[in-house]
């Protein structure tokens, strides 16, 4: 049975700006399965937020979807209703999808909280609207949710205004709001970057338990590969508006094939890292104004082949679950190995795995 709940196909998005057209998303395919967690990773500017904003229908005014489709397969009891999110009337979307069936937690909590309303009223608003709860019911559920996301003394805090909370507490309130109506899909855009590790662990474990209990599907954007390792079933690596590698979490961590993924994995210190310099990927991501010739990563890639400057690589299949867009996987390409430091780290991980 096909258990896809969200399917993005060949999505392309452009922005009009005073300096020209920014081609931010250049043909993205993504599939989220029911009950799974798909993590999207990639450097700043690679298009992660724009992709999920398109799912929520909240692209900024100068943005336009130039091709592709986004389909949400909502379960209606036993049946499955297919909703074409890009062509749905705005009003129907607001009342039937956003907040209720697909909820999102944004990168910056301050932008999604209203500074002049108490957190209690912001929490109960959606529940009263979508779930038709009474004031009292909504309030007691709000306290329960605050407790769930680890806010101490929720009965007191519910009266606070956003500026009276620390950065991390605000983010937990935003997460509580997203969970309030029991959504099918939770989209998290860097939800825990402002949180310390214990609260982060608590939130991640909370999301995982909701996943088991309610079959919640999660699209999770993060820079933190430790978080990816903890929560993700599958991983999509994004670069310059495209998915350049995808696979199960194990494919990506132990057997990455794209040099960009190698760079990302190498840049992150693990707790064993010492010495003077952390690895950095040289250069900066390409300017997305105008056409990109060949592989967008070529200029920063010390493993680049001649063909990379001319022809954009297609997706090459590595296994049933794993594919990567790099000419290194072509049968005529030279056999190159990942950087030795990364290979050593993977060896270390394998030892740790065998020990546990």
């Amino acid at each position: 049975m096909d258990d896809t709940i969200l399917s993005i196909q060949n999505l392309a998005i452009e922005f009009q700006t005073s300096s020209g057209t920014v081609k931010a998303i250049r043909g993205v395919d993504l599939r989220l399965r029911r009950g799974e967690t798909l993590a999207i990773v990639g450097e700043s500017g690679s298009g992660k937020s724009v992709t999920v904003k398109a799912v929520m229908g909240i692209l900024s005014g100068n943005g336009r979807v130039t091709s592709g489709s986004i389909e949400f397969r909502a379960a209606q009891g036993e049946a499955v209703e297919k909703l074409d999110l890009l062509n749905m009337p705005r009003k129907a979307r607001r009342s039937a999808v956003n907040g209720k069936r697909i909820a999102m937690v944004f990168q910056d909590p301050m932008t999604s909280l209203n500074p002049v309303l108490s957190i209690g009223s912001q929490l109960t608003e959606g529940m009263r609207l979508h779930l038709k709860l009474s004031k009292m019911e909504a309030r007691s559920r709000a306290i329960e949710l605050l407790n769930l996301v680890g806010i101490p003394e929720p009965e007191k805090r519910i009266k606070n205004y956003p500026h009276q909370l620390s950065g991390g507490m605000r983010q937990r309130v935003v997460i509580a709001i997203a969970l309030a109506c029991g959504p099918d899909i939770l989209i998290c855009d860097e939800p825990t970057t402002a949180l310390d590790v214990t609260i982060q662990a608590r939130i991640l474990e909370l999301i995982q338990s909701l996943q088991r209990k309610m079959g919640l599907s999660v699209l999770y954007i993060t820079h933190d590969l430790g978080v990816v390792a903890k929560v993700a079933d599958t991983v999509a690596v994004m670069y310059a508006g495209k998915i350049v590698e995808r696979g199960t979490v194990n494919d990506i961590f132990y057997d990455a094939r794209h040099p960009y993924t190698w760079g990302l994995l190498s840049a992150m210190p693990d707790l064993e890292t010492s010495g003077d310099e952390l690895y950095t990927i040289p250069g900066t991501p390409p300017n997305m104004l105008g056409e990109i010739q060949g592989d967008a990563f070529a200029a920063r890639n010390r493993f680049a082949l001649n063909i990379d400057n001319r022809v954009e690589p297609p997706m090459f299949r590595v296994s049933d679950t794993h594919e990567a867009a790099t000419w290194l996987l072509h049968e005529n390409a030279p056999r190159l190995q990942m950087p030795p430091a990364l290979r050593e780290r993977i060896e270390r991980m394998r030892k740790e795995n065998n020990a546990s």
Partner: protein, 318 residues
């Protein structure tokens, strides 16, 4: 200063001494938040002190009290041998604002969008008129931009024309131009992605090698804190529960909160990570009362907030 015990291994006195700092916020007649509740630590020259702890534990508040964005409720702050916790004389205020600088979490909201980079970076120079001519001012800014990995061509651009990592470099250039002794970096890299984080961390280290500046590095990413810091302070509910060198804290964590914090760090290794769950620490259930404890010496630079019996229990197996 006749108390030798507070000198570091190089025989230097501390650059910053925070003694029993309290910072309370009164929300209403019935609600007062004790954001920082009796915190003591020292930072030495050329040292990076990492401050970690859960959200709301008071990390940012400590940073802001130290640089005197707040009036401390109680306690003392001594910087370069001068008490800067009470009313500041004009002299002390000037000293504080040049010798101590802060880098903020969100570079965009801390940079004036209508000002050119050259004017943002020169801000500190302008306040203190520390140049003889326009040309000298520009030269100082260009030199600083190059030091942080930008170029003089960037000087006439506006902040929105930069990437997040480049903006953070602008903030660092602005902080560095006064050649401060202490830089408070409050979650300065948290919002950046891994490869840019690595660039900024490498830059901070390189600058320290050259100028011997000290950092108060506030972050929740323990792997970065471990990588960058010499010593670490662990904060919980406004109390410093444990402090020590990074080896002391990571190899021999003693406080149950520190233990849970370290156990909660996600390891970038999915097979192990999927099976692991963090140790949960609940102060209320544990019966630990921070008010009853005092900061006790374990060994070296390692201190632990504990009452008598707690200290015996927690250090027993160690």
């Amino acid at each position: 200063m006749n108390d030798k015990s507070i000198l570091n291994a190089a025989g230097q006195p501390p650059l910053l001494e925070v003694e029993n700092l309290r910072q309370y916020f009164r929300i209403s007649r019935r609600q007062t938040i004790k954001a920082v509740d009796g915190v003591t630590f020292r930072i030495y020259p050329n040292e990076t002190y990492g401050l970690v702890g859960e959200s709301g534990s008071g990390k940012s508040t400590i940073g802001r009290s130290v640089i005197r964005l707040y009036e401390p409720t109680a306690g003392s702050i001594t910087f370069r041998g001068r008490d800067v916790s009470g009313r500041l004389s004009a002299d002390d205020e000037k000293m504080l604002h040049t010798r101590m600088q802060m880098i903020f979490q969100d570079p965009m909201s801390s940079l004036n969008p209508r000002k050119k980079v050259v004017d943002i970076v020169a801000q500190g120079l302008d306040i203190h008129r520390s140049y003889a001519s326009r040309a000298e001012r520009s030269e100082k800014v260009f030199a600083m931009l190059e030091k942080v990995g930008l170029s003089r061509d960037h000087a006439n651009r506006y902040p929105h024309q930069f990437s997040g990592g480049q903006r953070q470099r602008i903030g660092i250039a602005r902080a560095l131009i006064q050649n401060p002794d202490l830089i408070i970096a409050d979650e300065a890299i948290s919002a950046l992605d891994v490869s840019i984080q690595a660039q900024i961390v490498n830059l901070m280290r390189a600058i320290q090698k050259e100028t011997h500046t000290s950092y108060l590095f506030i972050a929740h990413d323990l792997s970065m804190v471990k990588y960058l810091s010499d010593r670490i302070g662990v904060l919980h509910l406004g109390h410093l529960v444990e402090t020590g060198s990074k080896e002391e804290i990571f190899k021999n964590p003693l406080h149950p909160y520190t233990k849970s914090l370290i156990s909660a760090i996600p390891h970038p290794n999915p097979i192990v990570e999927k099976k692991r769950s963090a140790a949960i620490y609940d102060v209320r259930a544990s019966g630990i009362d921070y008010e009853k404890g005092s900061l006790r010496h374990v060994e070296g630079t390692h201190f632990l907030l504990a009452a008598d019996d707690e200290f015996k229990r927690w250090t027993k197996g160690a």
